[in-house]
Symmetry: C2
Subunit: 221 residues, 2 copies
DNA sequence: GTCTATATTATGATAGAC
DNA sequence: GTCTATCATAATATAGAC
C-alpha cells in the first residue's frame, strides 16, 4: 500500500528534522534552536515544518523524548551484558556517559534543563523512572552479594550516583568540549568514583563469591 | 570634585546593568540574555547601554568576571574561617555551593558554559587559578595532617573534588530549581561526598592530632 | 549620556493558493 | 505537503541630534 510508504516517509522526515535540530543545538547552544534554521538546513521553507511539529516547544519535547529513550536503551543494554551488581552499574553508566558525550546537545537538554520556558511532558519523563529502577535493582544485587552494606540500595545511594554521573559529564562537557568519553581529565575518573560506593555503604561481612571469574568482567570490550 | 561623583555614578550604573542582566538570565536562561530587555528594565532606550558596554558579549564577560570574583571571595573567606585541611575544603565548598544556588544564572555561566559563542577572556579565568591553588593548599595540609594519604593533593584529587561539586550543583539546579543550598535531595549529600576523599586516598598511618578541638569545627555557622 | 531614527536581520506562527 | 505572503515581534548595532 502507498499509505505505508507515505507514513514511512513522514517518519523519516520527522527524524531528519530532529537530527538537524540536534545539530543546530550543538552549534548555537540548546537555547539557540530555531525552526527557521532547521528549515534552512532541510531545504524547505519554515512554514512547512509546521506540518510535522505544531510549535518550537513540541520539537524540544520530541528531542527530549527521543533522548531519554536512546539514553535508557544504551544504559540498559550495557547493564544487561555485565555481571550483576556494581559491575553492571559501572558498565551501564560508562556506556551512558559515552552516549552523552556523543550526543552533547541532547545530554544538556536532558540533564541541565537550560531552557526555562520548556517543561518536559510527563510522557517524556517516563524513561527516567525505568532508569532509576534499573540502578536500584543493580544496587540491591550489590547489597545481596555483599559488595555494599546497609543503605546501599537506598534513595540516597541513587542520588549519590546521579551526582557522580552528572558531575563527571558536566565537567567533561564544559571544560573539554571536543574530547570523547574516556579521554581528558574527567571521564577517566568515573570508575574511581563508582569504586567509592563501598566506602559510603561499607559491607558488614566479607563479600560472597561472585558468580563468574573476575577475569571475565569485560569479555566483549 | 564632581568627577568623582560622575565616576561613582557610572560605576553604579554598570553594576545595575549587570544585576538586571542576571535577572534576565535567571528568567529566560543564560542564553536568553538580551540587551533590549535589560534596557527596558533599566528604563532607558537600548542604544544607551552601548555607552557602558560595547556589545552583548562584553556583558557576558563582565558577568563572568564578576561571578568568578564573588565566588572566589566567598570560598576563600569560608576556608579562612575553618580549621586547615579537609574541614577547610568542606567549609569553603559548602559556602561556594550556597553562593551558586543564590546566583544560579552566574553559576551556570561559570560552570556550564551554555553559550557556545561566548569565550571568557583570559583575565576572567584568572580567579579559577587561585581557586585551584586554594584547594590544593588545603589538600596538602590534609595530607600533612594524615587526613589523606599519597595522591591526596594531586591534580587528580582536585579534579575529583570538582566533579563532586559540579555534580551536586548540577543536580540541584536542574531538578530542584527553587530550593536553596542545604535543602532537597542533593546538596545535603555534599558533606558525605567530601567525606569519601579519605577512601580515595587512604592515609597510610593513623592521623596526627588536629590543632584544635573537633567541637570547634563550625563555630560561626 | 541620553534620545530618535534607522539599518539589518532574525524569529514563531498563520492564512490560503496550489 | 509544499509554497508565497504576511503578521507581529524581536534582536544587535550604528549615526547623529541634543
Amino acid at each position: 500500500m502507498t499509505a505505508d510508504r507515505r507514513a514511512r516517509r513522514r517518519q523519516e522526515t520527522l527524524e531528519e528534522i530532529l537530527d538537524l535540530a540536534e545539530a543546530v543545538m550543538t552549534e548555537e547552544g540548546v537555547n539557540g534552536l530555531s525552526l527557521a534554521e532547521v528549515a534552512r538546513r532541510l531545504g524547505v521553507q519554515p512554514p512547512s515544518l509546521y506540518k510535522y511539529f505544531p510549535s518550537l516547544m513540541s520539537v524540544y519535547d520530541a528531542l527530549f523524548l527521543r533522548g531519554q529513550h536512546e539514553h535508557l536503551r544504551v544504559v540498559r543494554d550495557a547493564m544487561g551484558g555485565a555481571e550483576p551488581g556494581l559491575a553492571a552499574i559501572q558498565a551501564g553508566l560508562d556506556a551512558g556517559g559515552r552516549w552523552c558525550l556523543e550526543n552533547r546537545a541532547l545530554a544538556q537538554l536532558l540533564f541541565w534543563r537550560p531552557v526555562p520556558s520548556f517543561e518536559a511532558s510527563p510522557e517524556a519523563l517516563e524513561p527516567s523512572v525505568e532508569m532509576i529502577a534499573l540502578i536500584r535493582n543493580a544496587l540491591t544485587e550489590a547489597v545481596a552479594a555483599g559488595e555494599l552494606g546497609p543503605g546501599g540500595d537506598s534513595d540516597e545511594a541513587i542520588q549519590l550516583i546521579s551526582i557522580l554521573t552528572s558531575g563527571t559529564l558536566t565537567q567533561a562537557m564544559a571544560n573539554e568540549p571536543q574530547l570523547p568519553w574516556g579521554k581528558g581529565r574527567f571521564s577517566p575518573l568515573f570508575p574511581k568514583l563508582i569504586a567509592l560506593l563501598p566506602a559510603a555503604y561499607p559491607p558488614t561481612a566479607p563479600p560472597t563469591r561472585r558468580r563468574a571469574r573476575p577475569k571475565a568482567l569485560e569479555p566483549t570490550t
